[in-house]
Symmetry: C2
Subunit: 423 residues, 2 copies
C-alpha cells in the first residue's frame, strides 16, 4: 500500500460503491469530494440487494468466490458502521435464500449446481419440495426441486445508499485509530470529464475536470463511476477497461392484503430464486411488503424496459408463486451493470500514482461493496482498518488488477504494441 | 327539450364527455363552469380511443348500436370543430380495424360474430390470414382467421382532451346561429360535493356545493363525473344510478427502429384487435410511434395495475404480434370505466329541472362523446345544432333515461316503494 497520506480525494461516481468508498476514505481522515450528476440513480437504484455469494456463484467463477465470501463476512460490521453514524436502517436482513426448480429438468441442473457448491465448501442443503412449501406456502404445488442456502443475506440498496449519503453529510464520524476526521463530504452534481495527471514522470493524479470545465484539485482520485468510467478522460493510455453494459429489467410489486392468510405479513418470508425452463428469476421480499422481481440479462444496449423482459419475469415468477398475478405493479425499470470479460471487477491502483479504479463489479456490486470500498480507501490513504483480516487482500488485488485486460489487442488490424502495457 | 335558456351552467366532471359537454354548452351561448379536481385524469387518460361501433358490438347490445353509429357519424364534424377552434390535432384517424383470431376456436367465434354483425347491416369482411398478413406484416405466421372492419376509426383521447381544454379557454368560439358567445370557461379544480336544488316544487337545480364548502350558483347543472356521480349529493332521491367500476389495465409501448423494416413507419398501420384463447386484446398504433395495448376487464375494485393483467396483455399481444417483445414499455396504468346494468349510458334529464345526468358510458365513452355531449347541451339550453339529424334523439333519450334502474328494488329486504319513482 501507498505510504503517502492524501488530504483531499475526489471520488468519481456515487453509486453504492462510490458512496461506500467515500465513507471509508472519510473514516481514514481524508477530505472527500463526491462527484456524480445523479447520486445512487444507476445500477444501485435497480439492484435487488441479494447478498448471495453462494446462490450467485456459477461454474467457472472460482476466482470470484473468495472475494464475494470476504465481502459477505465484512457486511455486518459495514452496515453497523453506517447505522451507527446515522441511525438510519439499511434493510440488512439475514434470512436464508430458497432456490426452487420449476420442473424435473430444472431440478437436475439445480441439483448439479448444489453438488458443485457443496464440493466447494458452500452451505447448501437440498430439501424436498414439500419441505420448501412448508417454508413458503405461496410456492406453486408442483415444483421440481428445492435447495436452501442458509448463509445468503440481503440489503436494501436504496435504503443503504440513503444512509451512506447521510453518513457522508454527518458532522462527525467514528474514525480509525487516531486519524482526525476531515468532516463532511463535499458534493458536486456533475460528471467527471477527465482525470488531471502530471505530464512528467513520476506521473501523479492532481484532480479532475468536470463537465462544466471546472478544475477540482485533489491529491488522489478514485474512479468508481461504473460504466461511465469508459467516458472518463485522462486515464493512463495503457489502461484498457473492457466494460460493457449488461442490462436487466426489474419489477417492484406490491402485495395486497387479499393474497395474505390471517397472520401472514408478506407473500414470501425469504428470498426465492427459481429456475424456470432453464431461465433464472428471483423474488426478494422487502420490509415494506413489496417484492423485487428480476433476473433478465441482456446486452442489447436498450436502456428502456422491454416488453419481452417484463413478460418473461411475470411468466416465470407466476409459475413458481401463482399469487404474483394478484400483486400490484408499482414500478419497472431497466439498468445496466458494468460487466467485464472475466466477471471480476476492475479494482486497484494504476500506473498513475494517486489514481485508483473501482468499477466492473457487474452483478455483484452490492455484495462487493464492503470489500471494494475498503480496499480502494486503503490503496489511497495507506490507512488500514485494524478490525479486518487483511490476509487475502494482496490476492484479491492481484485478481482484480484494472490493467489485466490491457496490452496488445487480439484484433489483427490493431497490432501496435502499447509501450508500457503490462505483460 | 326545455325552453328555458340558462345563462350559467356548471359541468361536474372534466373527462372527455364533461369537456365536450362544456364545449357544446358554450357553443350554444351558455356561460360554463367546469368543476373537476383533476381534468382528463380518469378513464380519459387511459382510453385507447378506438371508435369502433362495429368491433365493440357484442351479442345483446342491439339497443346500444344505433347510439354508437350515430356518434361515429357525428365524429368528423365534432373533431373538425375542436381543431378549427384551436388548431390542435385530435389524433382522429380513419384507418380500418383488423380483427384476428389466434387459433381455430377463436376463428369460429370471430366468424360467428362477423355473421351476426353482417346480418345487422355492419360493414365487416372475412379475409384470409394470408391477406391479413399482407396488410400487417408484423402479424404472427400462424393465425386462425381474420376480419376487416372498414368503418372503424380512432382518436387520441389525451390529444382530444387537451384540444378541448384549449377550445374552452379560447377567447372566441364559432357558435350556433345567432347565439352570443358567453366567453371562455371557468375552471374550478375541486370536487362537486352536492347539487343544490330548491326545496319546494317545482324542484329546480340552483348550483353546486364544492368539497371546500363553496357554493357555485348556476341555472343548470350537468353531472358528467363518471363513477364519481355516485358520490355527488343532492341528486333526486328517487334516482338510482347503478354505476359500478369496471377496471382495465392499459400499457403503452414504444416501437424501436430495430423492429421496423426499411421504409416502415410503425409496427402496425391500423388497429389490430385479437381473440387469443377466447380473451380479447387490442393494439392501437399512434402517430408518435407508440402502441396502446389493452382489453383486460375486471370488477375487483383494485385501482392499481395488476401483475396478472400485465402478463395477460403481453402474453396475448405477443402471440399475435411477436415483435411486441422488442418494444419498450413506456407506461402502464389502470382506470375504471363507469359500468351500468345494461351497458347503456345514463344520459338525460331528471325530475329536477335544470339537472342533466351524463355518465355510465362504460367502454364507449370516447365513441359516444359527440352524441352524448350534444344531447346533454341541447337538454340544458334548448338550442339545437342545425347541422345534425335529430330524428333519433328522442329514441336515444328513451333508451338512456337515467331513471330506468330506479324504483322498487328486487331485494326482498328492501321493498319500500320510493314515492315519485318512475314506473
Amino acid at each position: 500500500m501507498s505510504e503517502h497520506e492524501p488530504e483531499h480525494v475526489v471520488v468519481a461516481g456515487a453509486g453504492l460503491i462510490g458512496l461506500a468508498t467515500a465513507l471509508e476514505l472519510r473514516r481514514r481522515g481524508a477530505a472527500v469530494t463526491v462527484v456524480d450528476p445523479q447520486p445512487a440513480w444507476g445500477a444501485t437504484r435497480a439492484a435487488a440487494g441479494m447478498l448471495a455469494p453462494v446462490a450467485e456463484t456459477q461454474y467457472g467463477q472460482e476466482r470470484l468466490y473468495p472475494l464475494m465470501r470476504a465481502s459477505a463476512a465484512e457486511y455486518p460490521a459495514f452496515v453497523e458502521r453506517v447505522t451507527a453514524a446515522t441511525g438510519l436502517p439499511t434493510g440488512y436482513r439475514t434470512e436464508e435464500t430458497l432456490v426452487v426448480a420449476a420442473d424435473a429438468a430444472d431440478a437436475r441442473s439445480l441439483s448439479d449446481l448444489a453438488s458443485h457448491q457443496l464440493a466447494s465448501g458452500m452451505d447448501v442443503e437440498e430439501i424436498s419440495t414439500r419441505a420448501a412449501r412448508s417454508l413458503e406456502p405461496a410456492l406453486a404445488p408442483r415444483l421440481g426441486g428445492a435447495v436452501r442456502i442458509v448463509s445468503d443475506r440481503q440489503v436494501d440498496p436504496r435504503m443503504l445508499a440513503a444512509a451512506m449519503v447521510e453518513a457522508l453529510n454527518a458532522p462527525a464520524l467514528r474514525t480509525i485509530g487516531e486519524v482526525p476526521d476531515a468532516g463532511p463530504a463535499t458534493w458536486l452534481t456533475h460528471r467527471v470529464e477527465s482525470v488531471r495527471v502530471t505530464r512528467t514522470a513520476p506521473r501523479q493524479a492532481t484532480g479532475v475536470q468536470l463537465d462544466d470545465g471546472e478544475l477540482i484539485p485533489a491529491d488522489a482520485v478514485v474512479v468508481a463511476s461504473g460504466l461511465s468510467a469508459n467516458a472518463v478522460g485522462g486515464l493512463p493510455e495503457d489502461l484498457d477497461l473492457r466494460l460493457r453494459p449488461v442490462f436487466g429489467d426489474i419489477l417492484r410489486l406490491g402485495v395486497p392484503d387479499s393474497v395474505l392468510a390471517p397472520g401472514e405479513e408478506h407473500l414470501l418470508t425469504r428470498t426465492v430464486r427459481a429456475q424456470v425452463l432453464g431461465r433464472p428469476v428471483y423474488m426478494v421480499p422487502r420490509a415494506d411488503r413489496t417484492l423485487v422481481l428480476g433476473a433478465t440479462s441482456r446486452e442489447d444496449g436498450r436502456e428502456s424496459v422491454l416488453a419481452g423482459g417484463v413478460h418473461q419475469l411475470l411468466r416465470d415468477a407466476r409459475a413458481v408463486v401463482p399469487a404474483i398475478d394478484d400483486c400490484d405493479v408499482l414500478e419497472m425499470m431497466a439498468r445496466a451493470r458494468p460487466g467485464t470479460p472475466d466477471d471480476l471487477p476492475y479494482l486497484g491502483s494504476t500506473s498513475v500514482a494517486g489514481l485508483v479504479i473501482s468499477t466492473g463489479h457487474f452483478r455483484h456490486g452490492i455484495l462487493l461493496t464492503p470489500v471494494a470500498s475498503r480496499l480502494a480507501a486503503e490503496l489511497v490513504t495507506g490507512v488500514a482498518d485494524p478490525d479486518v483480516d487483511h490476509a487475502r487482500d494482496p490476492e484479491f488485488l492481484a485478481t482484480t488488477d484494472p490493467a489485466r485486460h490491457s496490452g496488445p489487442h487480439d484484433d489483427p488490424h490493431d497490432t501496435v504494441h502499447v509501450p508500457g502495457g503490462p505483460a
